[in-house]
Symmetry: C2
Subunit: 193 residues, 2 copies
């Protein structure tokens, strides 16, 4: 696919089919992820690729708890009813349906924790874009990270590894139109504010 | 350009030509940036596009101060001599030579500060990739952000706006080969750590 077609059309796909995703496509999206830039080229990313159904169900359960325990009320006034309903379905169980969950983590032995976001989120974005280029749907969520210790325990993450994003991947249940965005001119200043 | 050719070949270009970059190319990279996903679609990004030479020189000066005041010594043991020398030339003045500096900021009235990185860095990555797709060179640096108040004052940023990345853009002085990366298999775990 042509680059701008991928980048301009990327959307959060919350409804994914249960059909399995071939290993080579998952390897390809991870390959794109590790091609992101990183502070001092430290490449502090680590990925946990979860296909096991029990673990996916447990991730969904932990996430639902956070959602219902406060995030839901925090989110409601900030989103349109349509987006809210879609996120609500996803966060209360729908996310387990994605056949693959990629947990993107940062390794604090390779990079100080405060420097992780500027390396980990570019890698995650490469991953989302690559998924779209391969006809897969995905989204990035940081909601599950709020679950803290139970989430780390579930994945057996050592202390020096910080989970930073959950990316469920699968074939999209339906195609989505182009995303709506505030025009560039409204968020751009020249030379000074 | 084909998507994977862009994503797999992206590199930090620290040596850029002084030739001006057409406005429409800068608009195109910003258009790609705003197509990134963001928490609750809040789109908390704001861009300051600096072409003014005096402001670029002042950004370079502030950055050199941070570099020489500690970041340089912190970086040295972690990088190869070649990369270190390249970064050193860049951070001690070279960066002013880029004809355009884009400062990517987060707006805390649109999104709580702790949620900014997972939206701002994906947008910045889209920007870097789009630059490459258009034949431009760029890089993301968070070094200048450490300068704090003087940097915000220079750009006239209000209190609610947090500068998060500096992206100098221009035509590359030389072409760079493919980046070196640790293989995916070495940073991937399946189901559990």
């Amino acid at each position: 696919m042509e680059f701008f077609e991928v980048v301009d059309g990327q959307r959060a796909h919350r409804e994914l089919r249960a059909d399995p995703v071939p290993d080579e496509l998952i390897e390809r999206v991870l390959e794109a992820a590790v091609h992101a830039p990183s502070a001092e080229n430290r490449q502090p990313w680590v990925f946990v690729v979860v296909r096991d159904e029990q673990i996916r169900l447990r991730i969904a359960e932990l996430t639902a708890k956070i959602w219902q325990g406060g995030a839901r009320d925090f989110s409601k006034p900030n989103t349109t009813q349509r987006l809210f309903d879609e996120v609500d379905r996803w966060a209360t169980g729908g996310l387990a349906g994605a056949p693959v969950h990629i947990v993107v983590c940062g390794d604090t032995t390779r990079c100080p924790e405060m420097m992780l976001p500027s390396s980990i989120y570019p890698a995650t974005q490469n991953l989302l874009l690559a998924a779209r280029a391969l006809g897969l749907g995905s989204l990035m969520s940081t909601l599950s990270m709020v679950t803290g210790a139970p989430f780390k325990d579930l994945l057996g993450l050592p202390d020096h590894v910080v989970p930073m994003a959950l990316v469920p991947i699968g074939y999209p249940a339906r195609s989505l139109g182009p995303p709506r965005r505030t025009p560039v001119a409204e968020v751009t200043h020249h030379d000074r504010w």
